[in-house]
């Protein structure tokens, strides 16, 4: 009896310790999990900073005046040098106390008087005012105004946009038509042709660069936009592949019903397939636009006359000639990058879908 009671008690204790043990291990697990989350955040913040820092430096440098860019140690945020005159007799400012707000390359300065009622000149030579230097935080926008006039920005933007838009139209038209033929119409040799189209994806551009160039020379198209835009109308293997895969998911019944109603293949393409494929087409359009905007080798090979340069080419040429004008270079780079980033923020979902789709090919 007593033995049994004792054993029961023992059992009871054992069970309790087991419960406690679980509670303890739960607490440990929770602590471990919190630690893991902490480490994750720590890594994310460190890496996030590392990945964002170049952008910060791009914008920061673009807003610094030339004399404060190549200095050691560098300013983290843009600073500028201002000159404050002491109270003194000054021939050109009639002794008034002024602050110099802008120093011109020819050592004249633009001044702002400290007292109201000042009637003297607004621009005087630097020696006239015997200044004390002081650096303060401030933004220098002249890199943008100078940089964008140095390279004929508006003209290059126009050239780039013309090429981009034509490429988008051409790619959407040609790739969707070919993809339709490869997915919705049965014909002999279709599979073989599809394989041939796919295999051209393996061909790096450099391999066919010279013969293609020879063709465009023969056509007399060098130094026009034609070599950069016409190929878009001849299809792109990868986009044909993407659109074909998408068209395959559209039920057959739809096109068959339309055929019974007397629609031609082109009607089906235009009225059924295209409206149903808007997400896929948006993706192809977006990628084509990005590709044309970023393209460097194409314009480098085919465009000779400076008035036909695209933004990428113009920026590279600017770097080649004025490699030390970092303020202006950063300003122009910022301006070339911003449209792409804005485009990304408005089309994030399409964008990310596109990339993950390329991965699914694996």
């Amino acid at each position: 009896m007593i033995n049994k009671a004792l054993r029961q008690d023992e059992n009871h204790t054992r069970r309790r310790t087991a419960v406690e043990k679980i509670a303890v291990s739960n607490a440990a697990a929770r602590r471990k999990k919190r630690l893991l989350i902490g480490i994750t955040y720590f890594c994310l913040i460190v890496l996030g900073t590392a990945f964002t820092l170049p952008f910060f430096w791009l914008v920061s440098t673009s807003l610094k005046p030339a004399e404060r860019i190549q200095i050691w140690p560098p300013d983290i945020l843009p600073k500028r040098t201002i000159y404050i005159t002491q109270k003194m007799k000054n021939p050109s400012t009639n002794g008034a106390e002024v602050i110099v707000i802008k120093r011109n390359p020819d050592d004249t300065v633009v001044i702002t008087p400290l007292k109201p009622g000042y009637r003297g000149p607004r621009k005087v030579s630097l020696e006239c005012i015997r200044p004390t230097e002081r650096t303060v935080y401030g933004l220098e926008w002249s890199n943008y105004t100078r940089g964008l006039t140095f390279i004929p920005f508006l003209q290059q933007l126009r050239n780039t946009l013309i090429i981009c838009v034509i490429c988008v139209i051409g790619t959407l038209l040609s790739c969707s038509l070919v993809a339709y033929g490869l997915s919705k119409i049965e014909w002999k040799g279709r599979g073989l042709l599809f394989m041939i189209i796919l295999s051209t994806m393996m061909l790096p551009y450099q391999v066919i660069m010279v013969p293609v160039f020879a063709i465009f020379v023969w056509l007399g198209w060098v130094d026009t936009f034609l070599p950069l835009t016409v190929p878009a109308f001849l299809g792109n293997a990868f986009f044909i592949f993407l659109l074909r895969q998408f068209f395959m998911t559209i039920p057959r019944d739809l096109s068959e019903a339309a055929k019974l109603d007397g629609c031609t293949e082109f009607d089906i393409y235009r009225r059924i397939i295209i409206p149903l494929s808007k997400p896929a087409l948006a993706m192809v359009g977006l990628w084509t636009f990005m590709g044309a905007w970023n393209d460097f080798m194409g314009p480098l090979i085919y465009l000779v006359d400076e008035s036909k340069y695209t933004l990428s080419l113009g920026l590279a040429m600017f770097l080649g000639q004025y490699g030390n004008e970092y303020g202006m270079l950063m300003a122009v780079s910022t301006v070339v990058t911003i449209p792409i980033i804005i485009l990304f923020f408005f089309t994030q979902r399409t964008f990310i879908q596109g990339i993950t789709l390329t991965g699914l090919k694996a």
Binding site: L36, I37, T40, C43, L44, L47, G48, F51, T52, L53, P54, F55, W57, T61, I69, Q70, I71, W72, P74, M202, L203, P204, Y205, Q206, V207, M209, V210, P211, F213, A214, V217, N294, F296, M297, L300, I301, S312, L313, L315, A316, L319, G320, G323, Y326, L329, M330, V332, S333, T334, V336, T337, I340, I341, F344, Q348, I355, T358, G359, L360, A362
Partner: protein, 253 residues
Amino acid sequence: MLKPPVWVGLANYRTLFRDPVFYTALYNTAYYAVFATPLGMLVAFLLALLLNQKVKGMAVFRTMFFVPSIVPMVAGSVLWLWLLNPQYGLINALLGVVGIQGPGWMSDPKWAKPALIVMSTWGVGGWMLIYLAGLQDVPQDLYEAAEIDGASVWQRVWNITVPFMSPHLFFTVVMGFIGAAQYFTQAYVMTNGGGGPVDSTRFFSLYLFQNAFQYWKMGYACAMAWILFIVILSFTILLFKTSARYVYYGGER
């Protein structure tokens, strides 16, 4: 513009195989491929693993890591040329803070290729997204089972995540090597088309381009193009032939 072609037989190939710059270009491209691809994969994989943890603010971090990869290549190159400036660049400034005298980067033949590799790591956002999508397909119950069996985080990643991700990893290896063979814009822009210092960034595609459009040796460039094509083709075939050994397609076979 172009002289009419003349039949020269295999003369271009003979010159090519005796051209020391050709071998330098091959070496530079191989160097870039061998270091940039695995490094990029490692960083992208790490970022994807971090983003896959279910913590708040993921969308913000994802954008932070992805946006560098869509910066126009020329603008990115100009920016990095400035970041890598030996005297006044941000990178050497940061190295200076921790007491390291930074190298000359793009002005030092030893450091020019590593500089380009570091720069390429900045643009791995696309691969990161591919991995992130792949991570969604890894069965979660396997992790729970492994955790009960007492597997460490590292063991779980190596024995569960990596095998399930092998198709995605394989895809990026192939893309990385093909991309390395075509590596051109950054090298051209950052060296003003020269491939300097001392040929250290004269990559295969850059040398091909120079032969075609700076020296106007079209036949020679075409010979190089054939070599490039054969190298890429054999590499891809080799990778695909051996892929059955290390790529796991969700037990379909």
